[in-house]
């Protein structure tokens, strides 16, 4: 029983780590205060759910979830290219509302508030030996999430260690100076947002196939708060900080369960806890645990 609960938490940590590290790429390294991250997560979840309900194999749904979200990332970067800081945050926040409304009201596609039940668990058809590997147990699903988190981590580390990572950080520090050095910052920012969206979509797909049911209430603007808290508490432009903060922010609210609060209080208490941690961090450690970057 306890081990099943632990595995559940580990899966959540994995999914949130993918969400947070990809948001870190946009916010911490690219300086793009993107509050539309949950919209990409939602797009990924819905694409994956709808396609797999239509009978497509899991891995195709999974990839298309990422690619679909990435395309929307590119799309979002077109109108928001010239926006910075708060203005960008507002515009991307608007994007979350748009996607949420579409999920809620486009009932012929998404069934609206009824949601999409019965999303199949991931399964692979292994050719040659003609065997169907189905990840129905939570332990096997955890292994999948772990593997994909690891790939995401390696992918993003690779980007930020490369010269592209430097030019992305330069764009964050001073976009005009980067342009005057001859760099097309629009292209750089579009890549950053697109890749960030890709992994958010991937996380959405994992979530949909794990819970096997999605509805619009999982993708409200409020959902950005834990993810953004992880990024800020861990520290901007710190991957290590993101990892540690993910574990802390997923596990800490779980303690509330053991205090014996009724479940109706746990939800709001969780939000209060996030707000409290965020406030304490901003007062005592404004750069987060491992943040090196100061944004002007």
């Amino acid at each position: 029983m306890i081990s099943a609960y632990l595995i559940h938490l580990l899966i959540l940590i994995g999914i949130y780590f993918i969400l947070a590290i990809s948001l870190q790429l946009a916010v911490g390294f690219g300086g793009l205060l993107n509050l539309g991250h949950i919209a990409f997560y939602a797009i990924g979840a819905y694409i994956s759910a709808l396609l797999s309900l239509a009978g497509l194999p899991w891995w195709i749904c999974f990839l298309l979830a990422g690619i679909g979200a990435m395309l929307f990332g590119f799309l979002l970067s077109l109108p928001t290219n010239k926006l910075k800081g708060d203005y960008l945050a507002l515009a991307t926040m608007g994007f979350t509302f748009v996607v949420y409304s579409a999920a809620l009201n486009w009932t012929s596609l998404t069934r609206g508030p009824l949601g999409l039940p019965g999303i199949p668990k991931p399964s692979f058809h292994i050719p040659f030996i003609n065997y169907n590997l189905s990840l129905t147990s939570n332990l096997s699903f955890f292994m999948l999430v772990f593997f994909i988190s690891l790939l995401t981590y390696l992918f993003i580390i690779r980007i930020i260690k490369s010269s592209f990572g430097r030019v992305l950080e330069a764009t964050r520090d001073d976009e005009l100076a980067t342009r005057v050095l001859g760099k097309n910052t629009f292209k750089i920012k579009t890549y950053a947002l697109g890749i960030s969206a890709f992994f958010a979509g991937v996380a959405g797909s994992l979530y949909a196939h794990y819970i096997t049911f999605i509805d619009p209430s999982s993708f409200t603007l409020m959902q950005i708060i834990p993810v953004l808290s992880i990024v800020i508490i861990g520290g901007l432009a710190s991957i290590r900080g993101t990892f540690i903060a993910t574990i802390i922010l997923i596990l800490l609210p779980e303690l509330l369960r053991f205090i014996g609060f009724p479940s109706s209080i746990i939800g709001p208490a969780r939000q209060m806890l996030y707000a409290l941690i965020l406030l304490l961090i901003l007062i005592y450690k404004p750069k987060g645990f491992y943040g090196k970057v100061e944004l002007e």
Binding site: S163, A170, D174, A177, T178, V180, K183, A237
Partner: protein, 245 residues
């Protein structure tokens, strides 16, 4: 090499640049001087594409570069130093300078696949220029931790490393101490010797008259005088613009 023709830029009712005409010859140092608010920096912003012109033309190397984007103009060959520090504060001195060389770093897949390594030649050039500005030991220091004068020097180095045919420097001496001024002067004269073309804005008259081949004087958005330093020194219009009647 650079021709500015009938350039105009208005901010509401303020005629920041009003029918400005001048030319910069190849392999010379030209200084743009004039009282505060005479439109010098606005002209620089128009040349480097940061502001859009209201009217007029900017010709560089026989090409019309009017209203092109800052990155295009940089890639055509105009490298610019800003008046205030614009280093990438969270990057090191080395990283700041390495960004200047080329635009290969903006190619995502090339970098992701590890096909854009930092070459020895680039590192050698970075070391060389740091030596020239007497900041050898600062290679791995964060730009944020440098003093104002040091930031100016690194920024000048970055502007020089950025591939160019023309350097435009907005007040390279502003706020730096006499020792650093000497270093900057030495570098500018070395660049001129090696055949570079420089256009600069500078309030320090002694310096401008000493290093420049030609002085252009602006007042109220237009050129009121131009010529060799010794002609300008005794020009009554210039004295009036600077000292009032």
């Amino acid at each position: 090499m650079l021709k500015v023709q009938n350039l105009k830029k208005y901010f509401g009712g303020v005629k920041a640049v009003n029918d400005c005409n001048f030319e910069v010859q190849e392999k010379t140092i030209t200084a743009l001087i004039g009282p505060n608010g005479s439109g010098k920096t606005t002209v620089f912003n128009l040349i480097s594409g940061i502001l859009k012109t209201d009217d007029g033309k900017i010709i560089f190397d026989n090409k019309d570069i009017t209203n092109l984007s800052p990155e295009t103009i940089s890639n055509i060959g105009i490298s610019r130093l800003f008046q205030q520090s614009r280093l990438f504060n969270n990057l090191t001195v080395k990283e700041n300078l390495l960004l200047a060389f080329d635009n290969e770093d903006t190619k995502f897949w090339k970098n992701f696949l590890g096909k854009n390594k930092i070459t020895k030649e680039k590192l050698e050039k970075v070391r060389e220029i740091l030596k020239e500005i007497e900041m050898d030991g600062f290679l791995n220091k964060l730009a944020r931790d440098l003093s104002y004068g040091q930031k100016r020097l690194i920024e000048l180095a970055r502007t020089i490393l950025n591939p160019h045919k023309l350097l435009i420097l907005d007040e390279p001496l502003a706020g730096v101490n006499p020792k650093l001024r000497k270093i900057i002067e030495k570098i500018l004269l070395r660049l001129k010797k090696s055949g570079e073309t420089i256009l600069l804005i500078e309030h320090d008259m002694d310096f401008s008259f000493r290093v420049s081949d030609k002085i252009i004087v602006m007042d109220e958005g237009r050129v009121i005088a131009e010529g060799e330093p010794k002609e300008i020194k005794n020009n009554p219009k210039v004295l009036e613009a600077y000292l009032g009647d």
